[in-house]
């Protein structure tokens, strides 16, 4: 069974790299968002530094969303979703692997790239490290919560728009604890660990509930 | 002058060298990949101009 899941992971990563694949679309969108915000707020560095973590986290949420609507819809359209649902492995594991593949091309690069973008908004090194750490543990929650929306809208024609509206409210807790953990690292009343551990818990919760919900959505979707 | 500034100069030249090396490497690898794929296709007698040619007989290499 692990061979099947490994094959699925390799296939999804290969597809992301090929022409027409999502590739580093999420990362590109993330870079553009973070670059555009100062144009709205003005080049005042200490203002930007104060709200830096918030900018990076909001950009991460939106960047995760734009890559998600094709997560299951692409397979639904060319019929390979049938193949996935007839796999030996349970559908839940299939969904976990697809979510993980999406996270590898979206969440992980965001977390690794966040410090460099932090330069644009004059973040202090501790803030950069904090934002990167929170993104690293927080983006799985975004991916798997979004995965539920992607599964629900897989068979719908304009699923992408609906997806954002469906799952954005569900992502609020992750956003709150992500930003507060990042801010806590640069001084502030609460210690860094408290919101950070809650964020990890949210991610683990999202992976479990998101997977089961997405699998159920796929089963009952058609 | 302060040696602290040395670091910035070295860093910028290093990064430039890195990016240029990456560009050169990418060009070389891509070139070899495409050349090998082309050789494999032409070895099987697929002609560039799609004249109707009974299959199997390799066409004389044109152009």
């Amino acid at each position: 069974m692990t061979r099947a899941l490994a094959a699925l992971l390799v296939r999804d990563l290969k597809l992301a790299g090929r022409i027409g694949g999502s590739g580093a679309l999420g990362l590109g969108f993330f870079v553009m968002l973070v670059t555009v915000v100062p144009f709205a707020l003005g080049p005042d560095l200490n203002l930007l530094a104060r709200i830096g973590p918030a900018i990076l986290w909001l950009a991460a949420v939106l960047a995760t969303l734009i890559g998600l609507d094709r997560l299951f819809q692409a397979d639904e359209e060319d019929g390979s979703l049938d193949l996935l649902m007839h796999a030996e492995a349970p559908l839940e594991l299939i969904v976990v692997v697809k979510g993980f593949a999406h996270w590898l091309t979206t969440g992980l690069p965001l977390a690794l790239c966040a410090p460099f973008l932090g330069l644009l908004i004059a973040l202090t090194p501790e803030a950069m490290l904090a934002v990167s750490a929170t993104l690293l543990v927080g983006t799985p929650a975004l991916t798997f919560i979004g995965g539920v929306g992607a599964a629900l809208t897989a068979t719908m024609r304009r699923g992408g728009l609906l997806l954002s509206v469906l799952v954005l409210p569900l992502m609020v807790p992750t956003l709150i604890f992500g930003v507060s953990a990042a801010n806590a690292a640069t001084g502030g009343t609460i210690p860094f660990l408290t919101p950070f551990l809650i964020l990890i818990a949210l991610s683990l919760l999202a992976i479990v509930i998101g997977t089961v919900a997405a699998a159920a959505a796929l089963r009952h979707g058609s | 002058m302060g040696t602290a500034h040395q670091g910035f100069i070295v860093a910028s030249y290093a990064i430039t060298a890195l990016v240029i090396a990456a560009l050169i490497l990418r060009a070389l690898i891509d070139q070899r990949l495409q050349a090998r794929a082309l050789a494999r296709l032409e070895a099987r007698g697929v002609t560039r101009r799609s004249q109707a040619r009974p299959a199997g007989r390799p066409a004389p290499e044109a152009g």
Binding site: G28, P38 | I9, I15, V46, S50
Partner: protein, 245 residues
């Protein structure tokens, strides 16, 4: 002139020029580095860090030059339907983006010792940042459309719209920048560069230009090969169909 429109003739010519171009750029690069480090004096104000200018300025120039080259190729694709225009366009995008990125990084590395922060929203640097985003958009566009012809036309329109946008971005960024912050103290190279600074800069600029030209030619040759592989693959599929019938 010997029409370069024919890809095969272009391949042969490019094949011959490439080694010379590469060799020339290597020599010039070595000369430039020597001049930059051993001949050019330290700046009375900025000290040694001024040597970063010898990379920062040429890459900035190349970043803009390649976007212009892409726009010219875009006109070639849309208006003159030159068969090599879209090949040149596709090969130019990653090189231009790379040089723009290097320009930004060296700008930050130059800015740190000067103002104490890695990044200042200086009008020129910000415009280069927007240019880099436009490059990312163009490269993303190339990766979404499978058919080269259709992709080329789509990207050409995007590039031309971007090209028209460059001066607008320049103006709006200046406006945005001056509104919030006094004009940045950082003057690129000042009104007149001392001769001892000018030579290394010119040599380095030429070296980088030749290098990028070599990379561009090599990129075009590979792109032509990639197109040929694609056509042959499709022919192969058709041949299999004919065989089966």
């Amino acid at each position: 002139m010997w029409s370069l429109a024919n890809p095969t003739r272009f391949m042969a010519l490019a094949g011959r020029i490439l080694p010379w171009l590469a060799a020339a750029s290597a020599v010039l690069l070595a000369a430039g580095l020597y001049l930059a480090f051993f001949v050019a004096p330290a700046d009375y104000q900025q000290g040694e860090t001024v040597r970063i200018m010898f990379i920062h300025v040429p890459t900035a120039w190349l970043g803009l030059f390649f976007y212009t080259l892409m726009s010219l190729s875009a006109v070639g694709t849309l208006v003159w339907r030159h068969p090599l225009a879209d090949v040149s366009q596709k090969a130019a995008a990653p090189i231009g983006a790379a040089f723009t990125f290097v320009c930004l990084v060296t700008g930050a590395l130059w800015g740190k010792p000067m103002w104490g922060t890695w990044w200042v929203w200086d009008a020129r640097l910000t415009s280069m940042l927007v240019l880099l985003l436009m490059y990312l958009g163009v490269m993303a566009m190339w990766r979404t459309v499978e058919d080269p012809g259709r992709a080329a036309r789509a990207v050409s329109i995007l590039t031309l719209v971007g090209f028209v946008n460059v001066p607008i971005v320049k103006f709006s960024v200046d406006w945005w920048n001056t509104l919030h912050q006094p004009a940045s103290v950082f003057r690129l190279g000042g009104p007149t560069i001392h001769a001892s600074m000018l030579w290394p800069l010119l040599v380095m600029a030429l070296a980088f230009t030749l290098l990028s030209a070599a990379l561009h030619l090599a990129g075009m040759r590979t792109e032509i090969l990639r197109r040929r592989v694609r056509t042959l693959s499709i022919l192969e599929a058709e041949r299999l169909d004919r065989e089966a019938a």
